[in-house]
């Protein structure tokens, strides 16, 4: 099971408390994890990635194992610890605005 940590506003939107645990089919990548997340919580469609281009929204970043994965290919494999479920995949909203 892959653990995903959502920013507070998206936890509220998806009506979840704490981390999300996802079963991901096939190789675990940003794309497959986000696909699984949006399938389980359809209200998150469009909130993390653009509906059409599927690109990360500008104020969203992805982190895991102390690394910024935001600019990696969405099809790159995620770190082994994320796949093993020992480290979470963080979806982070930029600290900006007022």
């Amino acid at each position: 099971m892959i653990q995903v940590v959502l920013p507070a506003h998206l936890r509220t939107l998806a009506r979840v408390e704490g981390d999300v645990k996802l079963e991901v089919q096939g190789e675990a990548t940003q794309r497959s994890v986000l696909d699984a997340l949006e399938t389980k919580y359809p209200m998150l469609q469009g909130a993390i990635r653009d509906h059409v281009t599927q690109q990360r929204r500008p104020y969203i970043r992805f982190f895991a194992c102390s690394e910024d994965l935001s600019h990696q290919s969405p099809d790159a494999p995620l770190p082994d610890q994320v796949v093993a479920g020992t480290e979470p995949f963080f979806i982070v909203g930029a600290i900006a605005g007022g």
Binding site: H9, L10, T12, L13, Q45, G46, A47, R57, I60, A94
Partner: protein, 371 residues
């Protein structure tokens, strides 16, 4: 006994204010969607428990929330606002071509007869419709496809379609307004559109009488007289007596004719309200006095309404969708400010009381009169 429900959208959440018909004591619920911008909330005339809310965020984009129990609980519904075909370009602030990009929903207008049908006015300017309670949205692309689309340009607040008015006597007729393109009308249910801006004069654009390019801030109509429209333009208060075919200025003795809101009394189609704002560079009331101006003659002759409103050191603004009226026998008038106050008048504007004083900046106010 009748009840009133006031739906307030703010920079940091939604609030629902309720009272009985006396409109003296109010219950305040909220914030709903705390921390999110709520541009607009509106109830269905066909089912007052059905509400639509535009929830958005610079981080997480657009959400549409629907309530089927008058705002007690909410469910996120569809948020795919995809322009029809290849979106093309409009003008950017500097006159260069800029691709059409969806940013947010400014205004929901539920159908007068079907709770599941609702229109959404969006930025970048376009009109969408859902026929399934907000799950799926289709663009009425004839509007954006009007030949003038590539010449539309954003106002300071963005290129927003902020006003949608449905004609109660003709389901094929819809009026909309865009900053800063102007007003448009369809007579065939949204398939084709025509600009209705004759008589508008905007000295700040290259051709002051152009077919499009006018910064219309808001338009209002009385349900009993759908051919009569009132407009608060960037500068100038205007009226049309022929469904927008032509407009005449009715600013009359207003202290300034810049402003955002305009609305019509529920029972007196010639009684209208505006809140004059000093100028487009100083978005606060003239002389630091918050005054609603009322005309009982459909414009030109205006009286200031000040009782209960701050008459010194007041520097709030009242945004374009932040005024509404109820339909009780004694018409109630409501407006919200960027300072977080929501003022109510239970006597058609003669006197005012704040329902709440310290909300986040108010973006929109709508009222439902409940049996």
């Amino acid at each position: 006994m009748s009840k009133v429900r006031v739906l307030v959208g703010t920079r940091k959440g939604a609030f629902v204010l309720t009272s009985d018909g006396k409109r003296e004591k109010w219950d305040v619920s909220g914030p709903h969607f705390g921390g999110w911008e709520i541009y607009h909330i509106k109830g269905s005339p066909a089912d007052p428990n059905r509400l639509y809310a535009s929830q958005c965020s610079g981080w997480f984009g657009q959400q549409v929330q629907r309530s089927d129990d008058g705002g007690e609980t909410w469910t996120p519904v569809g948020n795919r606002f995809l322009y029809d075909g290849i979106p093309g370009t409009h003008q950017w602030y500097d006159g260069t071509a800029h691709p059409w990009e969806f940013k947010r929903v400014w205004h929901f207008e539920p159908s007068l007869t079907d709770p599941d049908t609702v229109y959404a006015g969006v930025e970048d300017a376009a009109l969408f419709r859902s026929n399934d309670g907000g799950q799926n949205w289709q663009e009425l692309a004839g509007l954006r496809g009007h030949g003038s689309g590539p010449r539309w340009q954003p106002g300071a607040g963005g290129m927003c379609l902020h006003t949608v008015i449905l004609d109660p006597t003709d389901p094929q007729r819809i009026f909309i307004a865009i900053s800063a393109a102007g007003a448009f009308r369809t007579d065939d249910g949204g398939r084709t559109w025509q600009p209705i801006n004759k008589g508008l004069y905007s000295q700040y654009i290259p051709d002051p009488t152009a077919e499009v390019g006018h910064c219309v801030h808001h338009v209002a109509m009385h349900q009993a007289r759908p051919g009569v429209l009132f407009m608060q333009k960037h500068w100038d208060v205007m009226r049309s007596d022929n469904a927008g075919e032509s407009w005449q200025e009715v600013s009359g003795n207003l202290p300034t004719d810049f402003g955002f809101v305009i609305d019509v009394h529920a029972h007196e189609p010639e009684t209208i309200y505006v809140v004059p704002i000093k100028s487009d560079s100083e978005h606060f009331p003239p002389d630091a006095k918050l005054r609603v101006y009322r005309s009982k003659t459909g414009g030109n002759e205006w009286e200031p309404l000040t009782k209960g409103l701050p008459q010194s050191n007041c520097y709030v603004n009242v945004l374009r969708d932040a005024m509404a009226v109820d339909s009780l026998d004694e018409c109630g008038v409501y407006f919200g400010t960027t300072g977080g106050q929501v003022y109510a008048s239970a006597d058609a504007g003669d006197s005012w009381t704040p329902i709440v004083r310290d909300l986040p900046a108010v973006l929109s106010v709508e009222v439902q009169t409940l049996a």
